[in-house]
């Protein structure tokens, strides 16, 4: 940023080059790899050897960047996933909001994702998450149609109603539903480093007590992978805490269980959970407002629609893929701060690349929209009707004429 203008008639590769700041992406990828991915994957590798059972999901966009920027990191993740105590869960491939725009394409992407994961990791996900744990009646049935055996929902009170999040649920014959225990998850995910939190500092034995004394069949904990070393820095003790927590849970005879094992174990006693028509998410206050709550987000969201639909008009699968990259939720997340103050705004501002702030807040939102507008316009040349490509040679007489001397 500022948005790079795209030459008229640019091919897909050149369009992509103008849309994405690969240098900056790579810089941040390496930064997070150093502080989080490498130490965290090493930690989990040693913990699964010691009995931790965990599930992990990867977006295609993350895997693609890992492959390009740091292939050895990808190998480390592959090694972790290959462990019998690790289950691979599905994730929307582009971390996008495609389900809002094209539910059939969403279903297909989720099915393709399963095949891709099996190809890359040798394991086939049967339980799936979605982007930012978005879940609703419609998404649930889309996932059912895609063939998943289980899915996730953030266990917010307004989603669960009178129910506890620590049971397995199901709705009308669709996939089993794991409600994330949002209180216990967020104690670590959000509050761990918060010195103003009454639970600070959180120690492993205390947390293990909370986990093992929770009511229900199980506690489903869900975190960003970046919780370990990025959201909470190493010096805050997050790695020691996690290692200690596993040990403390085991001391209390607590067990770790994989989602597919939980389905086997608790399927017969599963309960009914009707899902809201309005989606829930694990982000912010748990509703779509976090991503679509301000006018800038809504404007960018509309441009996402236009970009995707224009890409469909081109019949060019590569352009459709670019549109999907532009659909990623992060592009709405990182302007959540617009017109807001407070903790949530601070969190989303943290996700905005520091290099952009020199543009000023209004400059950032203007240029972000410009990226979409440039993309939409650049696809003009790819709408399939007959065009003649002009070359320098064909322009030579005109060039001669331009030169007055």
């Amino acid at each position: 940023m500022p948005a790079q203008p795209i030459p008229k008639g640019a091919n897909v590769n050149d369009i992509a080059q103008c849309l994405f700041d690969e240098k900056m992406n790579e810089k941040y990828f390496h930064k997070v790899a150093r502080t989080c991915y490498y130490p965290a994957v090493d930690m989990f590798q040693s913990l699964v050897d010691r009995g931790l059972r965990l599930s992990i999901g990867f977006s295609y966009s993350f895997l693609r960047q890992a492959q390009i920027y740091d292939a050895s990191l990808l190998k480390k993740f592959q090694q972790l996933v290959s462990h019998p105590n690790v289950e691979l869960v599905g994730v929307e491939p582009y971390h996008s909001f495609l389900f809002y725009l094209d539910v059939n394409a969403f279903i297909k992407n989720m099915q393709d994702m399963v095949s891709f994961m099996e190809y890359l990791f040798g394991k086939r996900p049967v339980v799936t998450d979605t982007t930012e744990m978005f879940q609703s009646n419609e998404i649930y049935f889309a996932l059912a149609k895609a063939g998943f055996k289980g899915t996730l929902v953030d266990g917010r009170p307004w989603v669960m109603g009178w129910r506890q999040p620590s049971y397995l649920y199901k709705y009308d014959g669709g996939p089993y539903i794991f409600p994330r225990h949002y209180q216990l998850s967020d104690d670590v995910g959000y509050r761990f480093s918060n010195k103003h939190w009454s639970g600070y500092p959180l120690f492993a034995d205390t947390y293990a007590d909370w986990l093992t004394s929770a009511e229900g069949d199980f506690v489903f904990l869900g975190w960003d992978f970046e919780t370990f070393g990025e959201h909470h820095r190493r010096e805050m003790g997050i790695f020691e805490f996690t290692k200690g927590m596993v040990e403390e849970v085991q001391k209390r005879r607590g067990e770790f269980i994989l989602p597919s094992e939980a389905i086997e174990k608790f399927a017969n006693g599963s309960h009914t959970l009707p899902l809201s028509q309005h989606p829930s998410t694990w982000a912010g206050e748990g509703s779509t407002e976090f991503f679509l709550g301000n006018s800038v987000q809504q404007s960018i969201f509309r441009l996402m629609h236009h970009a995707y639909h224009k890409a469909l008009l081109t019949n060019n699968i590569e352009l459709v893929e670019l549109a999907m990259w532009l659909l990623q939720s992060d592009n709405l997340h990182l302007v959540q701060w617009f017109g807001k103050h407070g903790n949530e705004a601070e969190v989303s501002a943290y996700f905005t690349p520091s290099e952009w702030w020199r543009l000023t807040p209004s400059g950032i939102v203007w240029e972000m929209q410009q990226v979409y507008k440039n993309f939409i316009q650049a696809m003009d040349a790819h709408i399939p009707f007959i065009r003649q490509q002009q070359t320098v040679a064909s322009y030579q007489p005109a060039l001669d004429d331009l030169l007055y001397r």
Binding site: P5, K8, D401
Partner: protein, 441 residues
């Protein structure tokens, strides 16, 4: 103290949109960059010219025994814009600003400083007004800023409104091409150094005299006037056309050869010519051989205005300049007026405007027009006697010889020495001079 800047201790980096490729030539700037870079390289300086080059040519070429390196930038963008250097201007500008600075620092400045050389970076016109500060920022971050002299040159006021003068002026010494431009820029709170434009030595090598006489005879008419330039009101085309019309109304036979660009203003000028009763004909020869051109001109002997619709190379221009009774470089606004000077090199009787043409002295080496009244042209034209014409032609050539690139570079290098002495830290001067390696992070 630093020895004077010389080929052994300095490297030049010229950054410009225009350059020597036909694709990259849109006017005076392209010619300037071609000639300035060649002249520096011929003097022995390692010279790098970065410009928006022809996408079909190699990205990097070297000339003059490796002294001159041409970098054709933004070729991946230019391939989508076959219409020349300014086609797709915004797209090229973004790419240029983003990618040139890192390249210059890593690939040119870094090795030069490692070799104890001073680097002079010169940007041209508004398109590079962000590039230079971006280069400066990277140099500063890398601890190399003190080893580099940066200049930014204004060839004309185009795009001035887009320039962050505070930022540009902070990182570079601003220069321009004439005292007129200097004064013009005073109004912006800027005091640029004046380093004039130059002309290539080869302009003096064309043998024009015999051919010019023949051309003059074949063109015929009472007054043969020649005008070349962009179709732009600043060039005062209508003043020239009206001068021809005045001569015609006096019962004289004007013959005016004109060559413009591809700008739409041509339509207005030619409409005006027709309205004033001038006969306009296009000249489109099969090629640009002089004999073929003159044959076409002969075929339209009744025409008062002959609109040349072909590329006119330097050597042919020199003949027309020399042959004409008047070369009308009568611009109302000219930052420097390269055409006037080039015509003077051919020994022409040049009618200049009175803005940036510092080289023109009224009635000594040129006719300097003080108004936009066409009668000023016809009046001077009709009053000149053979002796005056001869003297003006001689003086014009003499003056032009003072503006060849080697002479201009003497001024340029002297100014650079002044800048080096006054703007570089003394330890850098000393280290550069002693050949001590300069450490940087």
């Amino acid at each position: 103290m630093l020895n004077d800047i010389k080929p052994e201790n300095a490297v030049f980096v010229l950054v410009s949109f225009e350059g020597p490729d036909r694709y990259s030539l849109a006017g005076g700037l392209g010619v300037r960059m071609s000639e300035l870079s060649r002249s520096l390289a011929e003097t022995g300086y390692e010279t790098h010219l970065i410009f928006v080059g022809d996408p079909s040519l190699p990205g990097k070429t070297t000339e003059l025994g490796g002294k001159l390196t041409l970098y054709r930038w933004s070729q991946w963008v230019s391939q989508y814009y076959p219409g020349g250097v300014y086609d797709g201007e915004n797209e090229k500008l973004y790419d240029f600003d983003e990618s040139v600075p890192g390249f210059v620092v890593e690939q040119i400045v870094w090795p030069a400083i490692a070799g104890n050389k001073l680097v002079v970076i010169m940007g041209e016109d508004w398109h590079t007004a962000n590039t230079l500060p971006n280069i400066s920022d990277i140099l500063y971050q890398r601890g190399m800023r003190d080893n580099v002299l940066m200049l930014w040159n204004a060839n004309n006021p185009m795009g001035f409104e887009k320039i962050n003068w505070g930022r540009l002026g902070y990182v570079s010494t601003i220069t321009t091409v004439s005292r007129f431009m200097k004064h013009y820029m005073w109004s912006l709170g800027i005091n640029p150094l004046v380093i004039p434009n130059g002309i290539p030595q080869r302009l003096f090598s064309y043998q024009t005299e015999n051919k010019a006489d023949m051309v003059r005879e074949r063109i015929g008419g009472d007054y043969f006037m020649f005008k070349i330039g962009r179709w732009d009101p600043d060039k005062r085309w209508n003043m020239a056309i009206e001068a021809a019309a005045q001569l015609k109304s006096m019962g004289l036979k004007p013959r005016m050869l004109i060559r413009g660009g591809a700008e739409p203003y041509e339509g207005e000028v030619l409409h005006n010519a027709n309205r004033l009763g001038l006969n306009v004909a296009e000249v489109r020869p099969a090629d640009n051989k002089l004999e073929n051109i003159l044959d076409v001109i002969d075929s339209v002997s009744e025409a008062d205005v002959l609109n040349l619709k072909f590329f006119v190379p330097d050597d042919l221009l020199a003949i027309f300049y020399r042959a004409a009774d008047a070369v009308l470089a009568n611009s109302g606004m000219e930052p420097f007026g390269l055409v006037g000077l080039e015509a003077m090199a051919a020994g022409a009787v040049v009618f200049t405007g009175s803005t940036g043409e510092d080289y023109a002295q009224p009635f000594k080496n040129a006719l300097v027009l003080e108004t936009d009244n066409p009668a000023e042209i016809t009046s001077y034209l009709r009053s000149l006697d053979v002796g005056q014409i001869k003297k003006i032609r001689e003086n014009a050539r003499w003056t032009a010889a003072e503006f060849t690139w080697d002479k201009v570079n003497e001024i340029f290098l002297t100014r650079l020495n002044f800048l080096a002495y006054t703007s570089l830290p003394s330890e850098v001067l000393a280290k550069t001079n002693e050949g001590v390696r300069i450490n940087y992070v």
